[in-house]
């Protein structure tokens, strides 16, 4: 774990240097989503006694956690690996591959949590009824971990910067709008509903929404998210072993 922290340390130093700027830029998208969907389109919509604003906020938090964790770990690693080539220095250091993988993913988790919590503070000012308990924070942490490891996996598989952009367009973008963030899965046809359960963001949205609205928690979604995390971690490990001696 010390080696993983050493890797993380460098990224934290860099993050600290541009912290305020990072926080401001990272809040732009979720606030725009909140304004457009929560106040714009969703004004006046009521979902089983819950205002659309309260419904959509946990979804936007899941979405923020996904994009910032993925990009925080993946985009950064992609640039370090293919552009700056500084990842080679880590590969040549006498540290275990597990530590290297963890270290590279952890900065995604940190960035994901920072952005999500910052947005959560904004959301609480707008809608103070949201319930933030340990289960919500647990779900948020798991979401950040899952997508940070997905980011690392994508960055290790990518052969160019374009590959990362393609991954974003084909995987993240559809998940953004279809992962149960902006609408309830009960409103879509059964076939599509089951297809959307394949997406990890769907399970993050379901779990975080239930926790935020103080509803019974879908632990099945939590376990599926955990399974995604393990799959991305194992996938990342196998890829790292392939590109290293």
């Amino acid at each position: 774990m010390i080696d993983a922290y050493s890797i993380l340390w460098a990224d934290l130093v860099a993050l600290k240097r541009r912290g305020p700027r990072y926080l401001i830029t990272t809040l732009v998208s979720p606030i725009l989503y909140l304004v457009a969907f929560g106040w714009g389109l969703g004004r006046g919509i009521n979902l089983n006694g819950t205002s659309y604003l309260e419904f959509v906020i946990p979804g936007i938090i899941a979405l923020t956690a996904m994009t910032t964790s993925f990009n925080g770990a993946g985009t950064r690693l992609n640039v370090d690996r293919l552009y700056f080539k500084s990842f080679d220095e880590c590969l040549m250091a006498p540290i275990g591959l597990t530590s290297l993988l963890m270290g590279k993913a952890l900065i995604g988790v940190v960035r994901g949590l920072m952005s999500s919590v910052a947005f959560l503070i904004v959301a609480l000012l707008i809608s103070p009824h949201i319930h933030i308990g340990p289960q919500f924070l647990l779900g948020l942490l798991l979401t950040c971990l899952t997508f940070a490891f997905l980011g690392v996996l994508a960055a290790l598989l990518a052969r160019s910067h374009e590959d990362m952009a393609v991954f974003g367009s084909l995987i993240l973008m559809p998940m953004t709008f279809l992962g149960g963030t902006f609408f309830s899965l009960s409103q879509v046809p059964v076939g599509l509903k089951y297809a959307l359960y394949i997406l990890p963001l769907t399970h993050s949205s379901l779990f975080l929404r239930a926790a935020a609205l103080d509803q019974p928690l879908p632990w099945g979604s939590f376990l599926i998210l955990l399974a995604f995390l393990m799959a991305f971690l194992v996938g990342g490990m196998m890829t790292l072993k392939k590109i290293s001696i």
Binding site: W9, A10, P94, S244
Partner: protein, 288 residues
């Protein structure tokens, strides 16, 4: 006593193309060895294999007696590397880059702070320790990379084109640093396509061409094999022809026998002559 580097039967294929072709090489402890070769000869691939970044297709590499393929974790503490491209973390200062490397090599806090101060002094960057990488010159970046490579006191230092893109003055400064490290006991494995760099620095050079070593020895012995005196004949605008002779007397006799229409220059041969003759023969199918 084992050698610092022992390479036997090393091969690397990319998509069926042989980049390293049956490479055999031994380098002694304390040696300053140069790997010369034209672009695409396989120099960087060889270094990547030696430094655990690329898996060989076959063959064996031992560094200080440790098998690179079998014990990559152990071998990583034995060497430091200055890569051809800038591989510093640009979000960090020079000092922070060294900190990161020291942490990854498990130096204690006290040890790493002392070592960083010493090394920054060694490469004359103490005044720029807190500068971000993008805020310093190319020469400073290169010296920072050298300091980083030395932080864990490696016995072997790989320098992959260490002076590429540097001005003449900075290049000389880096040369002095390389000589000093070698005198202090570090084995240096240098790749370069600057012939004068290899000639100025290396005790022994190997010429790599199409993934194979086609000549190896001291710069002087390689020149002796070719001929210590070179005669350049300008063929009236149709290129230049070179002839090599063991001494000035034989070269002068040759010049006297020429028809006298060409512009002729007699000079001492150099490693560049050796390199061009060797690689030219392979590429062009025979140049004398």
């Amino acid at each position: 006593m084992s050698k610092m580097i022992e390479i036997s039967g090393l091969n690397k294929n990319y998509s069926g193309k042989k980049v390293i072709d049956g490479l055999d090489l031994e380098i002694d402890h304390g040696e300053l060895f140069g790997f010369l070769g034209p672009n695409g000869a396989g120099k960087t691939t060889a270094i990547r294999i030696l430094t655990t970044l690329t898996k060989p297709s076959s063959g064996r590499v031992l560094i200080n007696g440790i098998d690179v393929a079998r014990e990559p974790a152990s071998v990583k503490s034995e060497f430091g590397i200055v890569q051809q491209h800038l591989s510093l973390n640009r979000d960090l200062t020079i000092s922070e880059n060294l900190q990161l490397h020291a942490r990854l090599h498990h130096l204690s806090k006290k040890e790493r702070n002392q070592r960083i101060a010493d090394l920054l002094d060694y490469v004359e960057l103490s005044d720029h320790a807190d500068y971000l990488i993008d805020d310093v010159s190319g020469g400073m970046k290169r010296r920072a990379m050298i300091a980083r490579a030395l932080i864990h006191r490696p016995k072997l230092l790989f320098l992959d084109e260490p002076t590429v893109g540097l001005d003449a003055q900075t290049r000389r400064k880096v040369w002095d640093l390389i000589r000093r490290m070698n005198v202090e006991g570090t084995t240096v494995f240098l790749t370069t396509h600057y012939i004068e760099e290899a000639e100025a620095l290396c005790q022994r050079v190997g010429v790599l061409h199409h993934g194979r070593i086609i000549a190896i020895g001291s710069p002087l012995s390689l020149r002796e094999k070719l001929g210590m005196i070179a005669v350049e004949m300008n063929l009236n605008g149709n290129g230049t022809e070179y002839k090599y002779f063991p001494d000035r007397v034989q070269a002068a006799q040759f010049i006297e026998g020429l028809p006298g229409t060409e512009r002729v220059v007699m000079r001492e041969s150099n490693l560049e002559d050796v390199f061009i003759e060797l690689t030219g023969q392979k590429v062009l199918g025979g140049v004398t």
